[in-house]
């Protein structure tokens, strides 16, 4: 018989620690036989994709969703090469990209619209402005844009003594910065000297405490301390408020849809994952990340 060292209490402790070690070892061991879903693409979507992947681990513990960024183009290229199951894109696949996919794999990319990225233009509640056009926004933010004082727009903002238009923007690596530059500034550069903040929430916060300020950030970050402007593409066209409905109707101009592309119709775990992403649970996570969910059934798939 093996003799355990020490008095009985020590033996119990030893045994207990042995059990603990075995249990810990078992739980740390990588899951064998689990499925891995490769998910790559849009940097705008990488945060929400990560959040989905983490939450999905609780829904389907044997499925491991591996997310990486790199940009929408990178994701589609990886789909073409057949190295990923799902490519994230914050834009539509271009016809030549779809052709490339078809030529390489024999399958067409299938689009799953999973939500919307809608930017709101925020000002301080003191600001009398209600609606703004792309032209004015661009005049304020563009590199050679002439608008630097609120007086140039024909009014002054109570509480803003300097009358300077304080531009609040994002750091140059942000997807929001990219999208605003592409859609509103028509790919031209931002005027230097804007306050480039490191987060969507920070933009709204700074605008809320600064009467002179104007800023852009995800629609989902609105608080009671800021005012959201209606936006019109052109002067004379109707201006739309940044609402979920206007986004769904494609009327609100600073919004884009977020896509997940698969090679051919998805099946098995990939289909289960995409269905879950579009389920109320998945869409709630999307909304918590500051995006706009897809409309409840029916009108979504356009």
């Amino acid at each position: 018989m093996t003799r355990w060292p020490g008095p009985p209490t020590v033996r119990v402790l030893l045994l207990a620690s042995l059990f603990a070690a075995v249990a810990a070892g078992a739980s740390c061991r990588p899951k064998t036989g689990g499925t891995a879903i490769q998910n790559k693409g849009s940097d705008t979507m990488v945060n929400v994709a990560q959040a989905w992947a983490e939450a999905y681990r609780l829904v389907a513990p044997d499925v491991n969703v591996e997310v990486s960024g790199g940009g929408s183009g990178t994701g589609i290229a990886a789909l073409t090469a057949g190295t990923v199951h799902i490519a994230n894109a914050s834009r539509d696949v271009k016809p030549e990209e779809a052709e490339q996919v078809r030529r390489n794999t024999g399958l067409s990319p299938v689009d799953h619209k999973v939500g919307y990225d809608a930017l709101a233009v925020y000002v301080h509640p003191n600001n009398p402005l209600e609606a703004i056009t792309f032209e004015t926004l661009s005049g304020i933010y563009r590199e050679d844009g002439p608008l630097v004082r609120w007086q140039q727009l024909g009014f002054s903002v109570p509480g803003c003594r300097s009358d300077e238009i304080v531009r609040v923007s994002r750091q140059s690596s942000s997807g929001t910065y990219d999208f605003f530059r592409e859609r509103v500034l028509n790919k031209r550069d931002f005027k230097l000297g804007s306050r480039d903040l490191n987060g969507s929430k920070e933009v709204v916060e700074l605008v809320g405490t600064t009467p002179c300020a104007i800023g852009y950030s995800g629609m989902g970050y609105a608080t009671a301390h800021v005012k959201m402007l209606k936006v019109a593409r052109r002067a004379g066209e109707p201006a739309y408020p940044p609402t979920v409905e206007a986004t769904w109707a494609r009327a609100y101009p600073i919004a884009r849809s977020l896509h997940m592309y698969t090679l051919g119709e998805p099946a098995g775990p990939v289909k289960a994952y995409l269905d879950w992403v579009l389920s109320p649970d998945g869409q709630r996570i999307l909304q918590e990340s500051g995006y706009v969910p897809v409309p409840p059934s029916g009108e979504a798939r356009r």
Binding site: C160, R161, S162, E164, V166, Q171, S172, S173, Y177, D178, R181, E182, K187, R188, D189, L192, G193, S194, R195, D196, L197, N198, L206, T209, T210, P211, C212, A213
Partner: protein
């Protein structure tokens, strides 16, 4: 009977081999730690330079634009420009403001603690100053963003509370404790015989400080100020939060600026490794390195000049 020294015919008193070897090892270890500082500085410089070198020697790189243009557009779609003048101006500006505030306060506090205050007050002050030095920089950033920023909007004409003055105040608060503790040590290191001699000659305490202690402790006080400058130039998190992060040459204390350090912190994480943007950020690291080197060298030369006189 022979005296103990002569028994071994002049050889050194024998010691156990182990103790001798241990002494040698200890000596080597200490020598190594001494040299390691040089090794680390060179290694860091080499590493940063290696990351930056490809862009420095590429044809597209424009050194004049890099140094003298304010146009910082690292991710532009139409025209990428890497001008760092505004960033350098931001770093120099914020540091200057910080030093203008911190040096008088820091040296004043050091003189007070070392020469004028009573024993009990001195102990309390030293403990509080050490606590001040231990506050993490992100907490200072938080103070800047919430407290100082609000005060600034209410009491000045600044449209935004995060600006150069705010950054300067926060950096001053961070460098004062360093200046005080090292400055106080320098003053304490002046031999008491100097003080006694001055007092015996009929000098007042003020004359003692200005005519005797300050000149005698000059080197140590300069080191205190330089370490304070170093802290201010190198600080990242607090200035990122306090200065407003705007690329522009400041025209007044209340303009927002961006510093070289904050710019690296904000952009390096997202710049693809090996891209031109990534390498240019490393180049701005070298720029920062050279900036601090020049400041240190200038101060060192200045001190030597004073000493020769």
């Amino acid at each position: 009977m022979t005296p103990p020294g002569t028994t071994r015919s002049g050889a050194r008193p024998g010691r156990p081999f182990v103790s001798l070897a241990a002494e040698r090892a200890m000596e080597a270890a200490i020598r190594l730690s001494g040299i390691s500082a040089i090794v680390f500085v060179l290694a860091i410089f080499f590493f940063i330079f290696r990351e930056a070198a490809p862009v420095l020697f590429s044809d597209e790189f424009k050194p004049l634009e890099f140094l003298f243009s304010v146009q910082w557009y690292p991710t532009s779609v139409v025209d990428i420009r890497y001008g760092t003048l505004a960033l350098t101006a931001g770093t120099v500006g914020v540091t200057l403001v910080a030093m203008l505030l911190a040096v008088p306060f820091g040296l004043g506090a050091a003189i007070f603690v070392s020469e004028f205050c009573g024993r009990r007050l001195r102990e309390t002050l030293k403990i509080v100053i050490e606590i001040l030095a231990a506050i993490p920089s992100v907490v200072w950033g938080f103070v800047a963003l919430t407290v100082i920023s609000r005060l600034m909007v209410s009491y000045t004409s600044a449209p935004v509370g995060v600006n150069m003055l705010n950054g300067g105040i926060v950096l001053a608060l961070m460098s004062v404790p360093i200046i005080v503790s090292i400055g106080e040590d320098a003053l304490k290191a002046v031999p008491d015989s100097y003080r006694e001699a001055a007092l015996a000659m009929g000098a007042t305490r003020w004359q003692l400080v200005v005519r005797v202690l300050l000149p005698a402790a000059r080197n140590g006080l300069l080191a205190a100020v330089l370490l304070g400058v170093g802290r201010a130039v190198g600080e990242t998190m607090a200035v990122l939060m306090a200065t407003g992060h705007a690329v522009q040459i400041p025209h007044g204390l209340l303009d927002s600026v961006r510093t070289l350090t904050a710019n690296i912190a904000a952009e390096l994480g997202e710049a693809p490794a090996g891209s031109a943007h990534y390498r240019v950020l490393f180049l701005t690291g070298i720029q920062l390195f050279i900036l601090t080197f020049v400041v240190n060298l200038a101060a060192d030369l200045a001190i030597r000049g004073v000493r020769r006189k």
